[in-house]
């Protein structure tokens, strides 16, 4: 077939190598195109909008970068966020994403291709996923073969685990960080294989790009030392590795310290100590090898023992003293929760409250990876079959990332590429083994006995088994494509700023309440009005409504968030003092009881209570007070008094008791919690309703002034 096609196109006269290149190029280009196209569901279905929460902040900063130049961006002190603390944007973000987008924008505009900066942002993630396809191909090619590379590249193009963070509009760090990470791995493997300074430097540069774009670089700077250490233990350490690692680490570390947000962390925090330790170990190892080559074995052993004992004691003491003096920063909470899944839940409510920090369920492994879950061990097996320096690296990568992905659902993103690489290796090797067997019937058989040894591995119905296996793999691969497309379309292409639901007659109903409300704020409130909301909506509020907010998604100050949690969870009069203290003018709540939108503030309320109660000022807020007498989290008549009197409850359910939401149900029937609310008839004392969106999803309240004559 293919040959006929090639002949027809007049390419039949090409040499075998050229044909192979052509096929590879075709497959790769198609994979790249596909990876871009499959991420456009949301743009086609809704419009070219930025999605979710964090991307809005990234978009806002990118705009600042494009409009005012790099230095203004670098020194940007944002007085609209975290009122009244403010936030130094330049020093608290990874600028890689914004700089990349701005660079793309400037290049395009230089050539007079006038693309709106918003569109650059929207389409940046799909663009980089195309690049990722190429890098995965190169990486797998280095590790295994061209065939495995092509399979892996095709898979990474459509794997849902990666699409979930890189659809058009999902303008987030992860969108480019996966590309950077794989690029760093590729250059590292190249450097480790060749021992060339050029590749090591490229690796350091790729690492710098990675550091500038995502906090997940910590995974990388631990994985590469781990690789070096493993090679050392398995006796594979060589001058190549020595050159590669020393250059990569020293240049990479100096470069990474140029990112203001990273600063001195690479030489101070525990997360980076493994890399430093391995760097030191490399020097010792090399020195010891040098000594051993130049000394008699007896002398060497004596020297070796003394030095090792002395060194271990010194290192232990230094580490202990440094930690005690606080020179080495204690392990940060996020990292602890990686190692011990229950750590965050028990200690840091603000980390546990984020749904993407929750442990991964088995179902979501299958949902995000499908076929790869089964093919992964196959690939792992083939990697173990022929160990090389590069193979060891991917094995380490796969083992560590599968652990981390199990701890935190967000890290599925790190797992997805290696799953593709491993499955690519697995599928490619399987197919190339059995394909041969099918062919052996047609072509190899006539050639007859190649030798008695070959004959001995023969078994009956070899060709049939091969056919079955190839068919099964083909079916699996086909279902994988369908699954990926379905998941992308159904689960990962919702902008979450515009909601869609199916009506009774199957029509798509669009809820555009968020933008409606943000625009209301933008056009109806004073320019420097302060809006209080739960932190989830902070980025959107600053970006779309351009109003000052109290807390946002950059959850750097637990006390401040806790203060807002207290305001939401306390009774009105207490909330009022907190709101006055923070100069709040408007309060915004998200309410789903009318429309059935389940991730609303009442469902998040428990976190507000927990976070609010986690600081000394909020000691009066106890989680148990908000449960009904039977210990359930309810909003109906059984709900506790604290629940009924909390500002959040009142703001969400104000006037809701008059509304009929579903037929056959009493008024004030909450469609998310499926309960009839318990407190229907109440008035608000300290706030007044200012705006309620069409489907009641966003409700905005204005904080009243103090009573003029002293009495409420």
């Amino acid at each position: 077939m293919a040959r006929a096609l090639l002949d027809k196109m007049g390419l039949g006269s090409m040499s075998q190598a050229k044909k192979e290149t052509l096929v590879q190029m075709t497959i790769l280009s198609v994979a790249c195109l596909l990876s871009f196209a499959v991420r456009l569901f949301s743009v086609l279905r809704f419009e070219s909008v930025i999605h979710e929460f964090d991307p809005y902040f990234n978009y806002r900063t990118t705009k600042q970068l494009v409009e005012n130049g790099y230095y203004e961006f670098h020194n940007w002190f944002d007085d609209r966020a975290w009122y009244p603390l403010g936030r130094i944007i330049g020093g608290t973000i990874y600028p890689g994403l914004m700089v990349t987008a701005a660079a793309v924008y400037n290049v395009l505009n230089f050539f007079n291709i006038t693309v709106n900066i918003r569109n650059v942002c929207v389409f940046l993630a799909p663009l980089f996923s195309s690049f990722t396809v190429l890098v995965v191909y190169l990486l797998t090619k280095e590790v295994k073969s061209v065939g495995a590379g092509l399979v892996a590249a095709s898979m990474i193009a459509i794997v849902p685990g990666y699409i979930s963070r890189s659809v058009a509009g999902s303008y987030d760090n992860e969108g480019i960080a996966i590309f950077c990470m794989l690029l760093t791995y590729y250059t590292w493997i190249k450097a480790a294989k060749t021992g060339s300074i050029a590749w090591s430097l490229s690796c350091a540069l790729a690492y710098f790009y990675m550091v500038s774009s995502w906090g997940g670089y910590v995974f990388l700077i631990n994985l590469i030392p781990l690789h070096v250490l493993t090679l050392m233990i398995t006796g594979r350490f060589s001058h190549r590795i020595y050159v590669a690692y020393c250059i990569m680490y020293s240049v990479g570390t100096i470069l990474s310290m140029q990112i203001p947000f990273v600063g001195f962390a690479p030489v101070e925090t525990s997360e980076h100590m493994a890399a430093l330790g391995v760097f030191g170990l490399c020097q010792i190892y090399a020195f010891v090898t040098y000594l051993r080559a130049n000394m008699s074995p007896g002398n060497f052993n004596v020297l070796f023992r003394t030095v090792v004992t002395f060194a271990l004691t010194a290192v232990g003491l230094t580490f202990g003293v440094a930690t005690f003096l606080g020179k080495i920063a204690p392990w940060t909470g996020r990292f602890y929760s990686l190692l011990d899944p229950s750590y965050a839940k028990n200690n840091i409510p603000i980390i546990a409250s984020v749904s993407e920090h929750q442990p991964t369920t088995w179902a979501s492994f299958y949902f995000d990876l499908q076929l790869l879950v089964f093919m992964f061990p196959v690939g792992l097996y083939y990697c173990f079959r022929e160990l090389t320096d590069a193979n060891i690296f991917v094995i380490l990568y796969s083992v560590t990332s599968i652990y981390f992905a199990g701890v935190m659902v967000r890290l599925m993103l790190v797992l997805a590429p290696i799953m593709c690489i491993m499955s690519g290796i697995g599928i490619s090797t399987t197919l190339s083994i059995y394909m041969k067997n099918i062919e052996s019937e047609n072509t190899a058989q006539p050639q007859g006995g190649k030798g008695s040894k070959k004959k001995s591995t023969d078994y009956p119905i070899k060709s049939e088994i091969a056919t079955v296996i190839v068919t099964v793999v083909t079916i699996f691969l086909t279902t994988f494509v369908f699954h990926c497309t379905w998941v992308t379309s159904e689960a990962y292409s919702s902008p979450s700023i515009v909601l869609a639901a199916r009506g009774h007659d199957g029509n798509r109903i669009i809820f555009d309440d968020f933008r409606e409300a943000y625009n209301w704020l933008k056009f109806n409130t004073p320019e420097n009005a302060k809006v209080m909301s739960w932190w989830d909506y902070g980025y959107q509020l600053t970006a779309m409504a351009n109003r000052t907010i109290i807390v946002d998604n950059n959850t750097w100050n637990n006390t401040h968030i806790s203060r807002v949690g207290q305001a939401m969870a306390s009774p009105e009069d207490h909330s009022y003092t907190i709101m006055k203290e923070l100069d709040v003018d408007y309060v915004l709540v998200i309410f789903g009881g009318m429309s059935g939108y389940s991730s609303d503030d009442i469902n998040k309320f428990l976190w507000m209570i927990r976070i609010g109660g986690s600081t000394p000022e909020g000691a009066h807020i106890k989680e148990s007070d908000y449960y009904s007498s039977s210990g359930e989290y309810k909003v109906d008549k059984d709900a506790s008094k604290a629940m009924h009197n909390s500002l959040m409850y009142k703001m969400c359910y104000y006037r809701f008791g008059e509304i009929m939401t579903e037929q056959g149900k009493p008024t004030g029937y909450d469609r998310v919690r499926n309960q009839e609310i318990g407190n229907k008839d109440f008035e608000l004392d300290v706030v007044e309703e200012a705006f309620t969106s069409e489907h009641w999803i966003v409700r905005i309240y204005k904080v009243k002034d103090m009573a003029n004559r002293g009495t409420q």
């Binding site: 230095y71 002190f77 007085d79 009244p84 603390l85 103090m706 003029n708 004559r709 002293g710 009495t711």
Partner: protein, 424 residues
């Protein structure tokens, strides 16, 4: 031409003069309180007289207040004319109008209601303030013509060194939850509020010093309300009482001076403050919209004027403070006035970035609550504003450069030095 200009001038003058409505109980009030009304008329104000039940009584027209102040000398009115309700008068206060009114033993429902809404409870009808120790010699036996001298210590409200006043009327009690009520005149510790001819079976509304004789309230919008517990205390008759305590010497009633002072206060002719020209800038620079940097030296100035006897004068208070606030005040400094009432302070911005407010919150009894906030941002250093070389880091610079030098020397050595072959 000249006439029209004159007319215009007059019209403007008339417009500028504060307008006061005096609501009288009946035609007799003009007689009994003639001195008070004459004193009122002698002030630079435009006065309109109306009877409480007059059907043309109006305080608003087209949504605008018709008067700056209202004085109600109609304690026992049962219902105002033109269907005016207490709520109308309270709205008047909420819109910034001042209100002064008298009560008496037979106080009417509207007055009682207005009083209750501003945080003052008037005792039941028929009660009166009784003091068996401090009554005037002309008392008729109920000991309810009392002499009171427990004035609030604020010369802005009661004038300096007020003489004791003669009082006969109803007692009042302040709402403890309302922080805005001002106890202008309290009864002596031996007084109590009760009906004189009844046995005391229940605890009275108030006794001793908690009995208010004259109560004031300054609302949050700085509108002022004064309630006199006695309609008689500002009458001609009481102005002329000798005020001789039983068993003491005649002191001469201070009623007239007291009434003058309290009226001046209520009409905002005294103790009214206003500010203007809030300016802040870096020392030696013009004011600008740019954010301040941490550790900048900043100047702040504000001009405050005080109303004294109907004239705006530069305010000369020595205790005005400016705070530089980000939730908590980081700087709190006294503002120093010059003779023109310009208050100034200069200070160093703290080494903390964020959104700060210059806040002047001057709240003194009797004075308008002066509150001014100006929001500014304080940014951290830009990347070019740090010191390039830190003295304490010189060892590190030295080590870095020596390392570089060493590397170059070593490289040269390594590349161009050749060991002599040992085989020779």
């Amino acid at each position: 031409m000249f006439r029209s200009v004159l007319f215009l001038l007059l019209a403007t003058a008339a417009l500028c003069r504060p307008r006061t409505l005096v609501v009288l109980e009946n035609i007799l009030t003009k007689e009994t309180h003639s001195t008070f009304l004459a004193d009122l008329a002698s002030r630079d104000t435009e006065i309109t007289y109306k009877y409480a039940t007059d059907s043309s009584l109006a305080i608003k027209k087209y949504g605008e207040r018709l008067y700056e102040s209202i004085i109600i000398l109609a304690p026992s009115v049962a219902a105002f004319g033109n269907a005016l309700t207490p709520a109308d008068f309270l709205d008047f206060v909420d819109e910034g109008g001042n209100l002064m009114m008298t009560a008496s033993g037979s106080v009417g429902e509207p007055i009682r209601e207005i009083a209750a809404e501003v945080g003052v409870e008037i005792d039941e009808a028929g009660t009166t303030v009784i003091d068996h120790m401090n009554y005037d010699v002309s008392d008729e036996g109920d000991h309810d013509l009392i002499i009171a001298d427990e004035f609030i210590s604020s010369s802005v409200i009661v004038g300096s060194d007020p003489a004791p006043v003669v009082f006969r009327g109803v007692g009042m009690a302040a709402d403890l939850d309302n922080p805005l009520v001002i106890d202008i005149l309290r009864a002596s510790p031996t007084a109590y509020s009760h009906a004189p001819d009844q046995d005391i079976l229940e605890y009275p509304l108030a006794i001793g010093s908690s009995v208010l004789l004259v109560a004031g309230m300054q609302a949050r919008n700085n509108a002022r309300v004064v309630i006199l517990g006695s309609h008689d205390m500002i009458s001609d008759r009481f102005y002329n009482v000798k005020a001789q305590r039983f068993g003491g010497a005649a002191e001469g009633a201070g009623n007239r001076a007291f009434a003058q002072a309290v009226t001046d206060w209520a009409l905002k002719r005294n103790g009214d403050l206003r500010f203007s020209a809030v300016k802040h800038n870096k020392v030696g620079e013009e004011p600008s919209d740019a954010a301040y940097r941490i550790t900048d030296d900043v100047e702040y100035s504000i001009t405050i004027e005080e109303m004294q006897n109907g004239q705006w004068q530069p305010f000369q208070g020595q205790d005005v403070q400016m705070e530089f606030v980000r939730i908590d005040p980081f700087v709190r400094a006294f503002l120093v006035p010059d003779p023109a009432g310009n208050f100034k302070v200069s200070f160093k911005v703290p080494d903390v970035y964020g959104v700060f407010q210059f806040k002047v919150n001057y709240d003194r009894t009797g004075y308008t609550h002066l509150y001014s906030t100006t929001q500014v941002s304080v940014r951290p250093f830009r990347h070019t504003e740090y010191e390039r070389f830190i003295p304490s880091a010189y060892p590190y610079y030295a080590s870095a450069f020596s390392m570089m030098g060493g590397l170059i020397v070593f490289s040269f050595f390594f590349l161009y030095h050749q060991e002599k072959p040992k085989t020779e």
